[in-house]
């Protein structure tokens, strides 16, 4: 039981961070399908730069930097250049997945995966018995994730910047009519999202693990995307959804350890995804009452005026 709890926290943290990134993008009216790509560039850059400099902080800083550049690029393509948001997002994901795999070969001359010595600090230490062992393995990013979520909530729901962001996503004309440039606000939202994805990726590669593996995000960016929808575009809702998906993942991992003898491995690996699909269906039912998100969807296009 304690094992599941701790594993849940560890699986959920990257999901929650990336889902929070997604909430920023969604609220600004962007269906950000590049989350997966930004997550893996974050994971890779942290390992690559962290390994080269020996400093995990520099690694994360570099990861954030790379993602800011990529996010700005994404903004430039979908904004000024007018490309389709979904296609460009998927393109960003492809660049992330392919680019990191290529860089792995080009820089480290390796295929598949690399191990690293850099690792995120673990603030809770010295517990050597029971579940405490796993708790003491939780990285600092896991501990500050709730803080990030709370900050996101305050920024999105209780700040003027949040109001502008929501206006841009829901009804760009409203923003323009009060002198807010929707394009700039979208850029800001995407930059925040990019930075959060870098943290999510870093937690994956040097928080929960100590390596980088090709395609190690393994669809987590998309699950985070689903968590945003499931959480009705609300930072707390998305975080809870992320936590839930982390829980599903944990059950998958734990039962894999415990019951592999009797149940086919593939079936166990399926569990998180089955739960995810079920949860999305449930979320859809529930969300029908909350028009907020639907309004946001409808207003993705600019109203003609």
């Amino acid at each position: 039981m304690e094992q599941i709890l701790a594993t849940t926290l560890r699986s959920a943290a990257p999901l929650v961070l990336v889902a929070t990134a997604g909430v920023f993008a969604f609220r600004a009216g962007i269906f950000h399908l590049g989350l997966e790509g930004l997550m893996i560039t974050g994971a890779f850059t942290t390992v690559a730069v962290g390994d080269a400099t020996g400093s995990v902080e520099l690694g994360i800083l570099a990861a954030v930097g790379v993602n800011l550049v990529l996010s700005a690029l994404y903004w430039w393509v979908i904004g000024p250049l007018g490309a389709n948001v979904i296609i460009a997002g998927l393109g960003l994901t492809s660049i992330g997945l392919g680019g990191t795999a290529f860089a792995l070969g080009a820089i480290f001359d390796k295929r598949g995966s690399i191990f690293t010595d850099v690792v995120l600090p673990r603030p809770v230490r010295g517990i050597t018995s029971g579940a405490g062992v796993i708790v003491s393995e939780l990285s600092i990013l896991v501990w500050i994730t709730p803080l990030i979520v709370l900050t996101a909530w305050v920024v999105l729901r209780r700040s003027r910047f949040g109001l502008r962001l929501a206006a841009v996503g829901e009804y760009p004309f409203a923003a323009r009519s009060v002198g807010v440039n929707p394009s700039i606000v979208r850029l800001q939202a995407l930059l925040i999202a990019g930075a959060l994805c870098a943290l999510g990726g870093a937690e994956l590669s040097v928080g929960a693990l100590r390596n980088f593996t090709e395609n190690m995000t393994n669809g987590r960016g998309f699950i985070a995307f689903v968590a945003v929808i499931f959480g009705a575009w609300h930072p707390i809702g998305a975080a809870l959804a992320g936590l839930f998906f982390g829980f599903a993942d944990a059950i998958g991992i734990q039962s894999q350890i415990n019951i592999t003898e009797r149940v086919p491995r593939e079936f166990v690996l399926m569990i998180p995804f089955v739960i995810t699909i079920f949860a999305v269906w449930l979320g859809g039912l529930w969300r029908r009452r909350s028009l907020e998100a639907e309004a946001g969807y409808a207003e993705l296009r600019e109203p003609d005026y």
Partner: protein, 517 residues
């Protein structure tokens, strides 16, 4: 062009613009417009559709950067296309389309609109509500502040738009067709409010469509035609209504030729469309219908009045077969059509002029000929060969559009290249082709200019006289009074009142606001 009034007057004009020019591609929306607005008065701006009224308002409000010319507010030059600068100079705009995000609470929406000068980045909900309490006091006080914009009545939303515009101490208010969605009573209230604001020294520029409303509220009037200022600002007392409409329409142009309709139905009176106890489910965007009973006979126009959002869209979409009928039944030409799909209903002679012509009435990116002949692809016309002749379709489309005087270059141009009036002609040319038994016309003249409006109204009358039935849904009472043989009023998804001509504006207006049950 009339020269602007003497600029050497003692007072600085509240708004001054000099030789404004705006072009969108090949279209010149504004040509060399110069205008001075004397402070503390109500100025009206009128003109046909596409005359440039909204563009001028947007340029003055900083929402649209002009290609040439400059704007001064209160004596200060405003950088082109800078909404903030215009607001700081004291000029604020109330838009034709609502500008408050629907999911926002009233307090949030006002905070969004407020100028950034009072500077706090973060807020508490209660604090925000306290801050805006006074501004909305007359709209229903503190209770309204936590209401979401989408839950407000259209009149309240309109008032709130004005509150929003005035929130930053605006001294100059631009209103772009604020009466378009309002009932007569609400329009009167709006005008009273504007007069009060004027008395407090606010300068007002109001874009209006109806001369009756101009006469009711304005002190000076200016007329735009084809992007040029052709009259004014002139004192209302000094212009006759005749001069005004001449200025609006311009030198007499060839009147539309009367369109000969080929009536499909014989002259005998029969029920063409009948709804008995029809109810539909409420959807996220539209009120459900509640036990609607109505009949449209041949040779009559039945009007549906009502404030927008009281189920009219649901009614049209239920009749068209786009929304399933949950309860009750519908008959078309005496045959049950409750479960029939849109195509079968159309085969029985149902035709539709939809609410939003640009998204529901045409495919914007498709060529004209395809839009024109779309209905024929539904029909069961005798086919000897399972392929169609594009050349024939194009030729017939061109002929139909010529009859209806659609102005176009080639049948291959995309439908979005047409102006509003021409799009409506295109739709009519398609929907009123032989075979029409019942026409459901939703807001058929909304946003059209005088001559296009007259054309559409005449077409509806001729259609009726030819034996068809017409269900006319409109928010324009003048139009309904003029055309309808009978008038039904919708409120809250029901039909709450039925009237026969002659109509009394006040009684109908009361029924529309639910005062008459």
């Amino acid at each position: 062009m009339t020269a602007p009034s003497d600029s050497a007057s003692a007072e600085t004009p509240a708004v001054r613009c000099r030789s404004l020019g705006v072009s969108f591609g090949a279209v010149q929306a504004l040509r060399d417009v110069s205008l001075d607005l004397v402070p503390g008065r109500i100025h009206a701006l009128v003109g046909q559709n596409g005359a440039g009224k909204t563009t001028l308002a947007k340029v003055l409000g900083g929402l649209q950067a002009p290609n040439t010319g400059e704007v001064h507010v209160g004596g200060r030059k405003i950088p082109p296309g800078d909404v903030r600068a215009a607001q700081i100079a004291g000029l604020s705009m109330v838009h034709q389309h609502f500008s408050l995000p629907p999911s926002f609470t009233v307090a949030e929406a006002l905070e969004l609109a407020a100028a950034r000068k009072d500077g706090r980045s973060f807020f508490r909900r209660t604090e925000l509500q306290r801050k805006w309490q006074n501004e909305v006091a007359e709209l229903g006080g503190p209770t309204i502040l936590s209401t979401r914009i989408r839950d407000l009545h259209v009149e309240t939303r309109q008032s709130l738009e004005i509150v929003r515009a005035l929130a930053g101490d605006a001294r100059i208010l631009l209103l772009d067709e604020p009466t378009a969605l309002l009932t007569p009573a609400a329009t009167d209230q709006l005008f009273e409010r504007l007069l009060r604001l004027r008395d407090n020294g606010v300068t007002i520029l109001i874009v209006l469509h109806k001369l009756r409303e101009v006469a009711a509220v304005a002190e000076t009037v200016s007329v735009l035609r084809d992007g040029e200022l052709v009259l004014g600002p002139s004192e209302m007392a000094e212009v006759s209504e005749g001069q005004l409409s001449d200025a609006i329409v311009g030198p007499a142009s060839g009147a539309d030729r009367t369109v000969g309709m080929a009536p499909a139905a014989e002259a005998a009176q029969e029920t063409l469309l009948e709804l008995a106890g029809v109810s539909t489910r409420e959807s996220a965007f539209e009120l459900g219908l509640n036990e609607i009973n109505l009949r449209v006979e041949s040779q009559e126009i039945v009007g549906i009045a009502g404030v927008e959002g009281n189920g009219q869209r649901g009614l049209v979409s239920a009749i068209a077969g786009l929304t399933p009928i949950a309860d009750g039944s519908m008959r078309l030409g005496g045959v049950d059509a409750t479960r029939a799909g849109p195509a079968r209903r159309r085969l029985r002679g149902l035709r539709l002029v939809p609410f939003d012509r640009n998204t529901e009435g045409i495919s914007r990116s498709a060529p004209l000929w395809l839009n024109q002949s779309a209905l024929r692809l539904v029909g069961r016309h005798p086919r000897r060969f399972p392929l169609i002749s594009l050349r024939q379709y194009k030729r017939q489309a061109a002929e139909a559009m010529d009859v209806w005087r659609v102005r176009y270059d080639t049948v291959a141009q995309p439908a979005e290249s047409l102006s509003g009036g021409n799009v409506q002609r295109l739709i009519l040319s398609r929907e009123l082709a032989p075979g029409v038994e019942v026409l459901v016309a939703a807001q058929p003249t909304r946003g059209l200019d005088f001559s296009a409006t007259n054309f559409v109204r005449r077409s509806l009358r001729e259609l009726r006289d030819g034996g068809a039935g017409v269900l006319l849904v409109s928010s324009d009472l003048d139009e309904l009074f003029e055309l309808s043989d009978r008038l039904l009023v919708m409120y809250g998804g029901r039909i709450v009142a039925r009237f026969e001509a002659p109509y009394d504006r006040r009684t109908v207006g009361d029924a529309m606001t639910g005062a008459l049950r």
